[in-house]
Symmetry: C2
Subunit: 207 residues, 2 copies
DNA sequence: TGTACATCAGTGAACGCGCGTTCACTGATGTAC
DNA sequence: TGTACATCAGTGAACGCGCGTTCACTGATGTAC
């Protein structure tokens, strides 16, 4: 009996390993080309398998995409949480700069997230998972605002900040004339302005 | 000679009228279904013509889409300019609320704009036209901030406000549980919070 | 120890569909003589 | 006034391509007897 379980467990873990190869290949594809251009044949090629094999592990394209996307975006969010935790207490400027840095560096994921939401056709499972990540980020913002002893509804402030940062990434982007560095600089400039307005508000309301 | 000119002018205007029918049909399609689903056959059907005829007026799909999109988005922006001009001097809360109202009501266009920018593959001509519209909106914001006698770089404040509003529309949207009214209410709640923070900042820096 | 059969990873080619675009054609109107 | 020809709006069907997904099959490994 015991051996049976171990054997099937081994089988199971081998299967998971194969599955992971596919997910990793998909994730890699996402960071390599625009979302629309990612397709099953290229994912299969990158994983070194036949397209048909993917369908032994995932019922359809959407399931695979969701899994790959969640895996990637989770790592990014984890990184942001860590970075924010490390920053000085209530250093809103640093937190904001980190956010801009991270999503500028991982623009593919930002665009995918926007794509999912704008299309409206978000898979329910994916929606839940993204919500968990977002709420955790909002919690982090909450903690920061609390330390600033800001006036008003803390959660609203976090929502406002989150929306504003998202807007900065969404609004200031690739431009025929401007270089990537210029865009990042402008994003940071505007983000710093936002930070100043928040900080000023907090210092007046806290006093 | 004179008659010749009039005749060719008449011909020309007839041609433009036919062209406009196609553009209008495309615009209508955009407001009816998600961007991805808009296709040439349906546009042709709506215009009451054969798909092939579209290609007598437009070299390809992208040209038609750009023209239809610019026509629609221009009207929306014009409406916003008018509304903002009518609002009380420096009434930042009203201006912000109008912005949210307009883009919530015209979500299709908001999504298309996001799609264009996020895809990166923005046609140069389109990019220029959108830039003109955006700059005009920023100018309107500038005027408002100037009346508030706000401290700091006015243009940066306008960029910050524009990004934040865009972010609010982009971030808070269709949700399996929440109704459309709830979403609009939440957008307005967060937008009002944003307005308060800006107003407070302005009143302190102006004093 | 050998044989028949089951299981399952894995495959390349093919199916099917959506959709942008082109083809080959029609029919009406204008123009030259 | 009639005839030959040009122009051009307009058409439905077909072409071609990308791409998700399925089909029919192979080959290796395990299992029952």
């Amino acid at each position: 009996m015991k051996k049976d379980i171990t054997l099937s467990e081994l089988k199971e873990s081998e299967k998971n390993a194969r599955r992971k190869i596919i997910v990793d290949a998909a994730e890699k594809e996402f960071t390599t080309k625009p979302f629309k251009r990612v397709n099953m044949r290229d994912i299969a090629r990158r994983a070194g398998i036949s397209p048909a094999l993917i369908y032994r592990h995932f019922p359809d394209q959407q399931s695979l995409f969701v899994e790959a996307f969640v895996q990637g975006i989770s790592e990014i969010f984890e990184e942001i949480y860590r970075k924010i935790d490390q920053s000085e207490d209530g250093a809103i400027g640093d937190v904001i700069e980190d956010f801009i840095d991270f999503f500028t560096r991982n623009d593919q994921y930002f665009r995918m997230m926007m794509n999912f939401f704008l299309d409206g056709s978000v898979d329910h499972d994916l929606f839940d998972k993204l919500n968990v990540l977002e709420r955790k980020l909002l919690d982090t913002f909450d903690a920061m605002f609390r330390k600033l002893k800001i006036e008003g509804n803390i959660r609203f402030h976090s929502h406002t900040l989150f929306a504003a940062l998202t807007g900065i990434i969404a609004t200031f982007r690739s431009h025929p004339v401007k270089s990537d560095e210029e865009i990042l600089r402008h994003r940071k400039r505007i983000a710093a302005n936002l930070a100043k307005i928040f900080a000023e508000y907090a210092s007046h309301s806290g006093a």
